[in-house]
Amino acid sequence: MYDALLAETTTISGAEGDSIEAYLARTMTAGPVGGVVVIHHLPGYDAATKGIVRRFADAGYNAIMPNLFHREAPGAAPDDAYATVRAQGGVPDDRVVADVAAARDYLRSLTNSNGKVGVIGFCSGGRQTYLVACSIEIDAAVDCYGGFVLNSPPAGSGLNMTPVIELTPNLSCPLLGLFGEEDKAPSPEETAKIAAELDKHGKHYEFHTYPDAGHGFFATDRPMYRPAAATEGWATLLEFYGRHLSGKES
């Protein structure tokens, strides 16, 4: 199997035409192939999440991760950018949606694209994935333990983050949720309530909750990494994307 890929930093035109940095990993196959927009977690546009972008290219997709903190901290180290954004209370939801829409359009413009693009996000990016999937047209969404989809962050947290559950009627695509049984945000009780809301609106979704795993079980560079859950999670999400992002443009 031909498995060459190319990974590099590029620039895309994000919300309001702003030029923002993005990390792009493309399969070198002729295609047509699907695309994946990766939404990084609150700790930022970091090396571990760039590895996830490359993993999608290795799996035969074109993948891109816009640097959602580029405007606040252009050229900064990821941890410094995170500290800057956290001190400012986060980034605006409408800007995230527009940046992801721009990243989606960039992937669709690639010559080997089949026109289908999914989105995936981790942690705060999981909530943003839910937000994006309910705000723009996209082909498949994967929410990895996104907190505060249903509930509000603690009072006085200082972060401008509000629940997005009320957007559920607008969900535009199939949704896959991957959660840890030991997570407190989102807890299994919360994800059950989110599932009930999706049922209520007749949405296509599947949720998987892994035992012996908490928040961040995909994070290979952190103590919360859980190999069993992560391995099964990767297989599940690649199968999900295989179903919804394959084939030619319709």
Binding site: P43, A73, D79, D80, A83, A87, G158, K184, G216
Partner: protein, 86 residues
């Protein structure tokens, strides 16, 4: 879980970063997933000067016991200082 718990204050003084000493103007204190410390959660303190850019920052990530010990040490030190020096 991500706690998102954050306290933000303004401060006056200096800090030593990667390129030397610089004036500091702001501090954030939060308890969440650390970037570097080998814990699920840590108490992070960022003392920074946003006007000088994101890299103008002094950061520590501590486990909760260490953070409390540090906070108590700061208060104990200040409590021991003659009032006329404060």
């Amino acid at each position: 879980m991500c706690t998102y718990i954050t306290e933000r204050i303004t401060v006056e003084g200096t800090g030593k970063g990667a390129t030397g000493w610089f004036p500091v103007t702001n501090a954030s204190v939060y308890f969440d997933h650390p970037v570097s410390a080998p814990f699920d959660h840590a108490l992070t303190i960022d003392v920074a000067n946003p006007a000088q850019g994101p890299a103008a920052r002094v950061a520590v990530e501590l486990d909760s016991a260490s953070a409390r010990a540090l906070a108590n040490a700061i208060l104990k030190t200040l409590d021991a200082v003659p009032a006329e020096l404060l």
